[in-house]
């Protein structure tokens, strides 16, 4: 399954996913008009048509859609964007465009390698010593014990504060906030958005707001604001019956993708969970 060719039929755009990305990156399409949840849904439907879970496609999709989402989050908060991650929005977009391009170039490079490999399948050669080759010893020159001490000391050095890890597209999954808000709405018929997200980082607040818009589009909540910058009040629209939402809401799809669940690598690992609902 080729994610870039994913066929989309949205209100604002119809065509392959990579064209959408191109238009967005060239600012010929306003992300505010793009329903990201619908893209996720289209992907999930395509995924469901297949018998097995295509993890590679999921990985590619997640990186592309999370880039879109980050762009959208920044776009929705233009005046706050500068503070979002200490980057100007243009710089952020450019960085993302660059990263997408880089990833796509690497995908192309890996396709070239694969092709090369299949072409080289008939080339057999010996790996390791020849059966009747002279047996060799490669004696080691005398070594300094101080190098051992230095090696161990280096391993005991605290890792530097500066790391590239935060450069990963890193923000909490929208689904986390969808669930959180639904849980709140099961207990109370309305809540104050600002109070609910107080103490969260800017990026988390941005994603929480996206979740809120998603709930509104799903017809689950009503949003009211007395005046610009006044607190946003969220109220339950339908009486949720016990386990969840009645009526139009379909069961939530959930896809969590990591790379084979290795332990102990939270820094590398991006496990992103999405909850996609019908719009």
């Amino acid at each position: 399954m080729i994610v870039r060719e994913l066929d989309l039929d949205l209100d604002a755009f119809a065509g392959p996913f990579d064209l959408l990305l191109t238009l967005v990156l060239k600012e010929e399409l306003d992300l505010r008009d793009v329903d990201i949840a619908a893209i996720v849904l289209a992907f999930l439907e395509r995924l469901a048509e297949r018998d097995e879970l295509d993890l590679d496609a999921c990985g590619e999709f997640l990186i592309l859609v999370s880039a879109l989402l980050e762009l959208k989050a920044r776009g929705l908060f233009p005046e706050e964007a500068a503070e979002l991650a200490e980057l100007e929005p243009e710089a952020a977009a450019e960085e993302l465009a660059r990263r997408l391009a880089e990833y796509r170039r690497m995908k192309e490079a890996s396709a070239w390698l694969r092709e090369r490999l299949s072409g080289e399948g008939e080339r057999f050669f010996r790996i390791g010593p020849a059966p009747l080759a002279p047996v060799v010893e490669t004696p080691l020159a005398p070594q300094e014990p101080a190098r051992l001490a230095a090696a161990l000391r280096a391993l005991a050095v605290e890792p530097p504060q500066v790391s590239l890890s935060h450069m990963a597209l890193r923000f909490p999954p929208v689904g986390q906030f969808l669930e959180r808000f639904r849980a709140v709405l099961r207990r109370r018929s309305r809540f104050d958005f600002d109070a609910e997200v107080r103490g969260l980082s800017r990026v988390e607040q941005a994603v929480a707001f996206l979740a809120l818009l998603d709930l509104r589009r799903g017809g689950e909540v009503e949003i009211a604001q007395a005046a610009p910058f006044a607190p946003i009040r969220v109220s339950r629209l339908k009486a949720g019956s016990g386990a969840g939402e009645a009526g139009t809401a379909r069961p939530a799809h959930r896809v969590a993708v990591g790379d084979s669940g290795q332990e102990n690598s939270n820094r590398d690992e991006r496990t992103v969970a999405w909850t996609a609902r019908s719009a």
Partner: protein, 200 residues
């Protein structure tokens, strides 16, 4: 048919060519012209010329042994016509069925290496641990120091075996990645510049 062989026999380089054959049949990795010249105690120009003779003798269709220029050196391999027979007896070098994750990781290391697991994860967007372990085990990548000298994340580079498996004379044979025209160093520099900006 046998004319070139008679030529070899009569050629003053013939003995040197035989020495090269001997070196190549016992070597465990491709040998550069320089290594061959040092071992044969002869000069590189003559070695180049003798390699021409060896290549003429050991080529597809003529011999079951084929001389190839790969991974920065010269090596013997089996003729392609014997691939089926070889496949019955031997594992394909570094089993060819590399996963997509492994291939992408390999591409990143080949183009941007040396680079660390976090670097790879950042570009691929998913954890690189198992793909890296897999490639290490196959001998296609190897450790190449750590970021920021000691204590940082371990970096990886591709190995000569990588070039050999993929039939490359060197990494420079990898195709240029078309757009941006950015070479590896430029990409790295830009990444680091951005990282600094972000943490400034």
């Amino acid at each position: 048919m046998d004319r070139p062989l008679r030529l070899i026999a009569a050629n003053p380089l013939d003995q040197l060519a035989r020495t090269l054959e001997a070196l190549l049949v016992v070597a465990s990795a491709p040998l550069s012209t320089k290594e061959l010249a040092e071992a044969a105690a002869d000069d590189p120009e003559r070695v180049e010329a003798a390699l021409g003779l060896v290549g003429e003798r050991y080529r597809e269709g003529r011999s079951g042994i084929v001389l190839e220029h790969v991974a920065g050196g010269w090596a013997f391999r089996a003729a392609r016509e014997a691939a089926d027979a070889c496949a019955r007896l031997f594992e394909r070098p570094a089993q060819r069925n590399l996963s997509q994750a492994a291939l992408e990781t390999l591409a990143i290391v080949a183009y941007l290496g040396p680079c660390s697991r976090p670097d790879i994860a950042r570009i691929r967007g998913v954890a690189a641990e198992s793909a890296v372990a897999n490639l290490l085990e196959r001998g296609l990548i190897a450790e190449a120091g750590r970021d920021d000298g000691a204590g940082g994340a371990v970096r990886y580079r591709t190995t000569p075996l990588f070039e050999r498996v993929f039939g490359l004379e060197s990494l420079s044979q990898l195709p240029r990645l078309d757009d941006l025209g950015a070479d590896a160093e430029q990409i790295r520099e830009r990444l680091h510049a951005v990282a600094e900006k972000r943490t400034a």
